[in-house]
């Protein structure tokens, strides 16, 4: 349906150059619960307990794609009729389940109570529950809450909500001290690469949020410079700002250009000379350029469309257009945070069709008319679009794989080149 039929607007504020098509209708996108699939692997002593329905449990299991071999560090407390009819006290039930869970998993340091659509609609106060349970397990387990419901969050926003819940827990950075805080989940291998680069640049101490263990929370204060590694952590950034931290404006570290600008933003704020930046990054840039050259020939001139999904669409489109020579047809994003995207929007070409939100069927009509060489979309749409003759790339892989930084620039390009190469290879 078309509640407001794509009014083209050119709002004021940062990045007003590009018109944005606003869409409202059916949205084919995960809710924030999907973020648990990577967050529970990243934070190794955290457990995510979704308070929700069988649908929530089923979503998590399906979004995980393959079931994880080890016992997962997430679970669902499934609401039943008795809970809704008031025959059982939801808070008592939750206490019982948390006790059962923590009994089974004594290794858990932080438990997240994760709100869902049903828990929000019945107004189950998880903040209060977390407070009550924190008192009960004081000194043993930290218990926090956030909402990852589809009512409140779209896919990667679930991570933002989770990290936002960590901000008040972070210890204070002493006055006069300074530190760099990188916000947004990165695969461990990428995090280690960035840590080495920051060390070579002379930036120290550097911390990452989320941490690998909740026993080692990074400090936060007015001396903290915050550098965003993911373009979907806006609420977390603003919460850091409210505690005095300064948010660095930079493109996101995808590709050579994005990674260099991202590192440079930190270096400049830290007062490091440009020559040092150039010297430190030169070897990695040379490697990355060499790697990218392999894929550029396959990608250059190819037309690509992004369906709104992970919030990574705009930075990735920028990388593919500027560094791989692709032509952008439509770049859809679930929502547009102009503050977070200011630097990225400046780098997009005028010719791009930028859309925010979704009206699925109409968007697919446009896609069929456009016939791009590659479409980035969610898992539900990929095979049907392939069957229609469109080549696709699953967006979820971009959230799970190491794609940030210089040494992953070629891998990132390869993810887009592979479906095209495969399409050219097959004779069946």
């Amino acid at each position: 349906m078309t509640v407001d039929a794509n009014p083209v607007d050119a709002p004021s504020g940062p990045g007003p150059r590009l018109p944005v098509m606003r869409e409202r209708g059916q949205r084919q996108v995960f809710c924030g619960l999907a973020g648990i699939v990577w967050l529970h692997r990243k934070i190794q002593d955290a457990f995510f307990l979704v308070v929700g329905s069988r649908t929530c449990a089923h979503l998590l299991q399906s979004a995980a794609g393959v079931m994880i071999f080890a016992e997962p560090r997430f679970a669902t407390a499934i609401l039943h009729e008795r809970d809704l009819a008031g025959l059982a006290d939801c808070n008592q039930e939750l206490d019982r389940i948390v006790a059962e869970l923590l009994g089974r998993r004594p290794d858990i340091g932080t438990l997240f109570l994760v709100g869902s659509c049903p828990s929000e609609v019945i107004k189950l106060d998880l903040a209060k529950a977390a407070e009550r349970l924190s008192a009960a397990y004081h000194g043993r387990v930290r218990i926090l809450d956030y909402s990852a419901s589809g009512l409140e969050t779209t896919f990667t926003q679930g991570e933002d909500a989770c990290l936002r819940a960590l901000v008040p827990e972070l210890p204070s950075l002493p006055d006069g001290a300074r530190s760099l805080l990188v916000v947004g989940t990165l695969p461990d291998v990428v995090e280690d690469q960035f840590a080495r680069l920051f060390a070579e640049l002379g930036i120290s101490p550097v911390h990452f949020l989320p941490p690998r263990h909740t026993s080692a929370f990074p400090p936060l204060g007015s001396g903290t410079l915050v550098l965003l590694a993911q373009p979907f952590v806006g609420d977390t950034a603003r919460a850091c700002q409210a505690r005095g931290a300064r948010i660095l404006q930079a493109p996101y570290p995808f590709g050579v250009e994005g990674t260099l600008a991202w590192l440079r933003a930190a270096a400049q704020a830290w007062g490091i000379d440009e020559e040092v930046v150039t010297a430190v990054t030169a070897p990695a840039i040379t490697r990355a350029e060499r790697g990218l050259a392999h894929h550029r020939s396959e990608l250059a001139g190819k037309r690509i469309s992004f369906l709104p999904d992970s919030q990574l669409e705009i930075p990735l489109a920028r990388f593919l257009q500027r560094e791989c020579g692709m032509t952008l047809v439509e770049v859809g994003t679930p929502f547009l945070d102009r503050q977070l995207m200011a630097q990225e929007l400046d780098l997009l070409p005028d010719s791009v069709r930028l859309s925010e939100g979704q009206d699925l069927e109409r968007q697919l009509d446009r896609l069929r008319a456009d016939q791009p060489d590659l479409t980035v979309c969610g898992l539900g749409l990929a095979n049907p679009l392939e069957a229609e003759g469109l080549r696709t790339k699953w967006s979820i892989e971009l959230v799970f794989s190491p794609v940030h930084g210089f040494d992953q620039a070629a891998d990132l390009a390869e993810l887009f080149a592979r479906p095209l190469r495969r399409g050219a290879l097959l004779r069946v």
Binding site: R27, S53, T55, S62, F69, R105, L379, P384
Partner: protein, 525 residues
């Protein structure tokens, strides 16, 4: 509230989607919040479906909750009707929509669309996926056929002379276990005795096909989990007999033919042992002797679990040590079957309970769902998948039915293949010290990579309580422990458990080599 790690079944609206996705010309509008569209990937990724399920979601968000979600429902219904031009529209709600009580079904019916509009009741906090599929199929068939129901007491017209009997195959659905191939196999089975298949539903049927259901002579309830209500209703209202035997396994396939023979008055004797049926001879051949008494644990939906139990006991000569189902609606069938084979039925949808039972029973083979495949992997037990919930591997490119004579051939291969081959088992027992026959050695035909899973398989989590924990006061003497290691790993757990049980019964504190062999003699099979 119920603590759940993995679920065997989705919510009931997933069942409704499975029915909608099976049919042509039927569209489902689902009142559901943003995020519930994940369900599409079950069809497009797991079953590799080339089309999206015919489902339109309202995908409301917080901002709509403050406004008018009812208007959103109406807009979605009218958009879906305009775009997809279905012959029948179904309207349902997922768990969150159930709480806000917009009554989307009533709203849609009030819109005056020129097609049948069916309002589905899918109680998300009380029921699950199979129930949802069963109910949706029943409501749909009842809704479409109500006008055709004959007056009470009127007998159906006898079949005209010379016309071959006609059967409907009811129950196969999208995301069902091997439904695609079972339908082909059962069609051939019936063709061999001169019975035509009239309508297959829901899988592949159109709304028009559903209207033709009463023209057939009888119904085959292929999957009771999704079709038993529909078959019962058709029997009551149209006097259509239901063939209830599910033809999985040689014995069941022959019983199925007998039942069809009784219903149609056809002699089926010639069709009960076709040349293509290799399973009975393979099982009788000497190579299969080593299968005798293999301890097997079975868990799945009721139909497949019960069928597997009969195959194990009567057709492969296994010993059933455990039998269970996650489908509470069909628990009675499984309990009855468990009683027949002298085991405790396990009726649960708690994956952890199944894992604990498997660890305790230490079977030599697990037959289960994809969940049990994971449990078996953790426990280092061979496993074959026999039932939904499904995984991309359960949609093989090749023809691989479970039903009929070819189904039995497929079952023989898939269940026997993961086991150690007969002579190999002996060689391992004889030459324990051989450096290549170490503990992690897997069946040689399964490739070298398979064995590497094993050590890491027992990685994390205090999930598995070893059976020996309860005998903590009993001690193993060093040389007995050494002797135990000479027993092949795949039976060592059983040997350890039996020896400890024997020691406990005999009041023995320290297990020696003597105790080990005494126990072996005591329990010897």
């Amino acid at each position: 509230m119920q603590l759940t790690l993995w679920t065997y079944e989705g919510p009931p609206h997933i069942g409704a989607m499975r029915v909608a996705a099976s049919l042509d010309g039927v569209h489902l509008v689902l009142h559901a919040p943003q995020g519930d569209t994940y369900a599409d990937l079950l069809f497009t990724m797991i079953a590799r479906s080339e089309r999206r399920p015919p489902v339109t979601y309202t995908t409301f968000q917080a901002r709509e909750l403050g406004g008018d979600t009812a208007e959103l429902v109406k807009a979605s219904v009218s958009d879906a009707y305009e775009r997809f031009k279905p012959q029948v529209l179904m309207v349902g709600e997922a768990c969150t929509a159930e709480l806000i009580q917009d009554q989307p079904g009533a709203l849609a019916r009030g819109m005056g669309l020129p097609i049948p509009v069916l309002s589905l009741e899918l109680p998300a906090y009380a029921r699950k996926e199979c129930w949802g599929a069963n109910e949706t199929f029943y409501q749909l068939v009842r809704g479409l056929l109500r006008a055709q129901v004959p007056e009470a007491g009127r007998k159906p017209a006898p079949r005209p002379a010379g016309q071959r009997p006609r059967a409907n195959l009811l129950g196969p659905t999208a995301l069902g276990f091997r439904c695609r191939d079972d339908v082909i196999e059962v069609r051939q089975l019936l063709a061999a005795i001169g019975v035509d298949v009239h309508v297959v539903a829901p899988l592949g049927a159109s709304a028009q096909d559903l209207l033709r259901i009463p023209e057939a002579d009888f119904n085959v309830c292929l999957y009771p989990e999704t079709a038993d209500q529909t078959c019962d209703w058709l029997e009551r209202m149209f006097g259509m007999p239901t063939v209830k035997t599910v033809p999985i396994g040689i014995g069941a396939t022959r019983d199925f033919l007998d039942e069809v023979g009784r219903v149609t008055g056809i002699d089926v004797a010639h069709a009960k042992a076709p040349n293509s049926s290799r399973m009975p001879w393979y099982s009788r051949s000497v190579d299969s002797t080593y299968l005798t008494g293999k301890r097997v644990f079975i868990f799945g939906d009721a139909t497949h679990a019960v069928a597997a139990a009969r195959i194990c006991a009567e057709e492969l000569g296994f010993t059933i040590v455990g039998l269970g189902t996650y489908a509470r609606e069909f628990a009675r069938d499984v309990r009855e079957c468990a009683r027949r084979y002298g085991v405790d039925p396990l009726i649960t949808d708690d994956y952890l309970e199944v894992e604990a039972r498997a660890a305790q029973l230490q079977p030599e083979l697990m037959l289960g769902t994809q969940m049990e495949r994971h449990i078996a992997k953790r426990l280092g037990v061979p496993c074959a998948v026999i039932s939904a919930p499904v995984h991309v591997q359960d949609f093989p490119a090749r023809y691989a039915p479970q039903m009929g004579f070819e189904g039995a051939n497929v079952i023989f291969d898939t269940w026997v293949h993961p086991l150690m081959m007969g002579l190999e088992e002996h060689l391992i027992t004889m030459f324990r010290e051989d450096f290549e026959f170490h503990d992690a050695a897997t069946p040689s035909h399964l490739g070298s990579g398979a064995g590497r899973d094993r050590p890491s398989a027992i990685e994390t989590g205090p999930t598995v309580t070893p059976a020996e924990a309860s005998h903590s006061d009993i001690r193993w003497a060093a040389e007995a422990e050494q002797e135990l290691k000479k027993i092949p790993f795949f039976v060592r757990g059983k040997a350890r458990r039996n020896t400890e049980r024997f020691a406990e019964e005999q009041g023995i504190q320290t297990i020696t080599v003597e105790t080990l062999y005494d126990a072996k003699a005591h329990f010897g099979r």
